[in-house]
C-alpha cells in the first residue's frame, strides 16, 4: 500500500432509495395475489417509480457522490513490521514455510507398489486354490464368493471352473483397490516411525483383515464361514510385504519448494537457498 498523493474526497455510488421502492412495489404486486387487487395497482405504480429512479441513477451517467476522506487521525496507521520472529523448522533455516515433507515418493512408486503387491496377493491366492481345491480358478471364485454376496450378487455357481464375467469383475475390483492402496502406502509408509515393512507388511494387513472379517460377519453371516481366514491373511500379508518393500526401495524425489522463486522458474542455475541436507 503505497503512500498516495493526498485526495480530498473519493467518488462512490450515491445513496438512493430507488431500489427499495422498486422492491417494495414488486412485493405489493405479488402480495396482491393473496390480498386485494388494489395492492397490485399501488404496487405497480411504486415499482415503476422505483425503476425510473433507478434508471436515472445509472443513465445518462452514473450518479456518484464525493465522500470526504477520513482525517489522518482516524485512518489505520501504516502496518509496522512486527518484532515477533518466526520460528523455523529443523529441516532448514530457510525451509520454515515449506510444504512438508521436502521429499516424497513419486506416484509411480505407489502404482508400482500396488501392482507388485496385487500380483503377490494373487499368487498366494492361486497357490491356496491349487492346494485346497486343485484349481487356480478357485481363488478367484473364492474371492468372488466372499465379496459378491456383500454386493448383492449371487456367488459363482461352481467354484472350480473359469467364469469370464466373475473373472473380470474380481480382477477389476482387485486392481483398483491394489493401486489405491499402493498410493496410500507410498505416501504414508515413509512418514511412520520404524520400518515400513513392519507397518505395511504386518500391521496394516492385519487391521484391514480384522475389519473385513467383522464386515463380512455383519453383512453376510454365512459368508464369514466360507473364507479360510488363514490363507486370507497370508495373501494380505504378501501384498503388504511386497508393496512395503517396493516403497522402501524407491528413492524419494525432492520437491522444488526449497528453491527460491527464481530458482524454481529456472532463472537461476544454482538455487540461492541451499538444500535442506546442508543444514540439518
Amino acid at each position: 500500500m503505497t503512500e498516495n498523493e493526498e485526495k480530498e474526497s473519493l467518488s462512490l455510488p450515491a445513496s438512493t432509495a430507488a431500489p427499495l421502492f422498486f422492491a417494495f412495489g414488486l412485493v405489493l404486486l405479488l402480495a396482491s395475489l393473496v390480498t386485494n387487487v388494489i395492492f397490485a395497482y399501488v404496487g405497480a405504480v411504486i415499482a415503476v417509480l422505483g425503476a425510473h429512479g433507478w434508471w436515472r441513477e445509472m443513465l445518462p451517467r452514473e450518479h456518484i457522490e464525493p465522500v470526504p476522506v477520513q482525517p489522518l487521525s482516524e485512518r489505520a496507521p501504516e502496518i509496522t513490521p512486527q518484532p515477533a520472529s518466526v520460528e523455523h523448522l529443523v529441516v532448514g533455516e530457510d525451509g520454515h514455510r515449506v510444504r512438508l515433507p521436502l521429499e516424497y515418493h513419486p506416484y509411480a512408486t505407489g502404482l508400482r507398489a500396488g501392482i507388485a503387491g496385487g500380483i503377490a496377493m494373487a499368487v498366494v491366492g492361486g497357490i491356496h486354490g491349487l492346494v485346497a481345491a486343485g484349481s487356480v480358478w478357485a481363488a478367484f471364485n473364492g474371492f468372488a464368493s466372499i465379496v459378491m454376496p456383500l454386493f448383492g450378487a449371487s456367488p459363482p455357481p461352481d467354484m472350480l471352473s473359469f467364469h469370464p464375467g466373475i473373472m473380470v469383475a474380481a480382477l477389476g475390483v482387485h486392481i483398483a483397490l491394489s493401486l489405491l492402496i499402493g498410493i496410500v502406502y507410498s505416501s504414508v509408509l515413509p512418514m511412520l516411525p520404524g520400518h515400513p515393512r513392519l507397518w505395511g507388511g504386518i500391521v496394516a494387513p492385519i487391521v484391514w483383515t480384522a475389519a473385513g472379517w467383522a464386515a463380512v460377519g455383519l453383512v453376510t453371516p454365512d459368508g464369514a464361514g466360507a473364507v479360510s481366514w488363514g490363507w486370507f491373511i497370508a495373501s494380505q500379508i504378501a501384498f503388504g510385504l511386497v508393496a512395503g518393500e517396493v516403497v522402501s526401495r524407491s528413492t524419494p524425489v525432492r520437491t522444488l519448494q526449497s528453491y527460491t522463486l527464481s530458482g524454481r522458474a529456472g532463472l537461476e542455475a544454482t538455487p540461492a537457498q541451499g538444500h535442506p541436507e546442508d543444514h540439518s
Partner: protein, 352 residues
Amino acid sequence: MGSASFRIKGGLLSIGIAGITAFLSFLALSAVAAKAFAAEVIQTPTPFEPVSEPAHAIMDFGLLIIWICAAIFFIVFGLLIYTIIRYRAKAGDETTEPAQIYGSEQLELAWTITPVLIVIILGLITAGRIVALDKTDPPEGSLGIRVIGHQWWWELQYEGYDFITANELHIPVDQTAFLTLHSEDVIHSFWVPQLSGKTDLIPNRTNQMWMHPHETGLYVGQCAEYCGTQHAHMLLRVFVHTQPDFERWAAEQQQLATRVASVDLGRETFEQTACVNCHTVRGVTEIGQFGPDLTHLMSRTTIGAGAAANNRENLIAWITNPDHFKPGARMPAMKLSPQKIELVADYLTTLK
C-alpha cells in the same frame, strides 16, 4: 493481550470441566431415570430390536456403517483433541510465530485416498444391500395386502381374502407379507421399525414393500411422512400371529357383520344418519368409502388410528366429537342427540 488470553484459558478450562461434569452426571442421571421409566415401557418401535427379515438385515448393515463412522470419528476427533492440547499457546508464545507450513502433498494425498477407499467399499456394500432388500415382485407363497393411506388412517385390503379392515394389520409369522402401497390423498409412509424399513404411499403410484416376521407379537409403528394436521395420530399396529391364529382371524373378518336384534334401534339410527355415507358395514350398507370399514370394528383394539382405546365409552366420545381425541380428524361431529349416540355406540359394540 497475552495475559488476557491466559485468563480466558483458565476460565475456559474450569467452565469446560464444570460443564462436562454437569453433562456427564446429567447423562448418568437420565440413564437411571430411563431405567425407571423403562418399567412402564410397553413398546419401543426401535429398528434395533428387529423381529423380521428386512429389518434384521438393515440393522446389521446399519451397525456396520455405524462402526465404520465411529472409527473415523474417534480417530479424527482424537487428532483434534490432541492438536488443541498439544499446540495451545503457552507462556511466552506471543513473541514468536510458529513455523509456517503450507501443506503436504503426501499427507493430503493420503487423506484423500483413504476416504476414497472407504467410500468404494461402503458404496459397494450399500449397493449390494439395496439390491438384496428391494423386492419388486411378491415371492412365491406370500400374503398380498393392499395398503391405502388416507388422512389419517390406513385402509387394509387382503388379497385372496375378501375383506377390508383398517389401522391394524394382522399377518402370519414365518411367511412373507407383501404390501402394495397406494394413497387416496397425500403422501404417507408405512413404517413399523421392528419389521421393515419405511416406504411411502404416494397418490398415482404403486409402491411395494415386504416383511417376513419370525416372532409373533404386537409391533407398533406409524405414518412417517408428514401428511397434515393429524399426522401424529396415524398410528399402526401389526399383529404377527401363528398361522392357525391368523387363519382364524381372517375367517372371522370374512364374515358379514353380525346382526344382534337388541341393538336394531342403534343400527337403524346408524343407517339413517350420514354415517353410511362414509362407513361400510358389510351386510348392512356398503356405500361409504371415505372412512374406515366398521364391519368388525370391535376386533380392533383402538379407534381413530390409535388415537384412543376401543371401548364403548371412547366410541361415544368419538361419535360425539372426533376432535376430542383427534383434533382435525376428517370425520365430522355428527351432532346426534346423546340418546342416539348411546344407541349407535351400543350397535357398534356388537360389530365383533
